[in-house]
Subunit: 159 residues, 2 copies
């Protein structure tokens, strides 16, 4: 069975969790999204958010880091079992990203994904496209982030 | 006329351009998307991309930075004309983000947006939702990035 064959629709994966500190929220925002409610506690308190919160792009980037880390550990686990390791290619993009609630300083967000589709690529022989419905949930159990990503996966990945 | 009334469907806005250096591509990727084709020239040369290229999340974050910078300068211009300044709220998310081609080290990407929809919010009285079809084009004229973002805008923004 190849790594691609083992990808099963309905399977869920916990990518891991991350606690967003005020310091990193501000650092990301100064570089990429310098709006006052992401860069300054006092200005954020006066804003519609009511407190310092992360740029939605920061939340997305942290989700990606946890996904990459999960995937690297999954490669190690499959190698340890002597199975062919999965191999990912580029992502063509995604659908309907939602920032459902603010991610405030101190919030811990747990990200997970469910495989919702896989199909063989017509344009790229030897590759499939896997779709993963991904969500981020805060420490109160509230969904704060959702998107469905697509990524190329090698159909006959070599170990 | 309020700032919201002046938002016209079909209007296009140039957000500005950015040249992606190898150094910043690697810095972003180490922090948020540590895949070898984003962090290491030699590994990238061996990959399906063929050369070091930016994380799609990095491209997205740079787009956001240019949009925020454009919007801050637009506020200054409207104030200088004595008109009510536009006021943005949070973004609920977006549709169909596409990474159409890799953004390689040295590429210069120009981002622009076209207003494609605006409507009054039912859930948030006093606010509208403006939809902006945004694209990134490289120095060869090739589209590399596209998405349609939605953002809350105050209907009767005060100066």
């Amino acid at each position: 069975m190849t790594a691609y064959e083992r990808i099963t629709i309905g399977d869920s994966i916990a990518f891991g969790a991350h606690r967003f500190t005020a310091e990193e929220i501000k650092r990301f925002a100064v570089a990429y999204d310098p709006q006052p409610f992401h860069t300054d506690e006092a200005a954020a308190a006066q804003s519609h958010f009511g407190a310092l919160c992360a740029s939605g792009w920061h939340t997305s980037a942290v989700m990606m880091r946890l996904f990459v880390k999960y995937f690297a550990s999954e490669i190690e686990r499959t190698k340890a079992r002597g199975e062919p390791a999965p191999q990912l290619g580029p992502s063509p993009g995604f659908d309907d990203l939602k920032w459902l609630k603010p991610v405030y300083a101190g919030d811990e967000i747990a990200f997970s994904g469910t495989i919702v589709a896989k199909r063989e690529s017509r344009s790229r022989p030897g590759w499939g496209i896997v779709s993963i419905e991904t969500t981020g949930i805060n420490q109160k159990g509230e969904p704060v982030f959702a998107y469905t990503g697509h990524v190329f996966a090698a159909i006959a990945a070599k170990t």
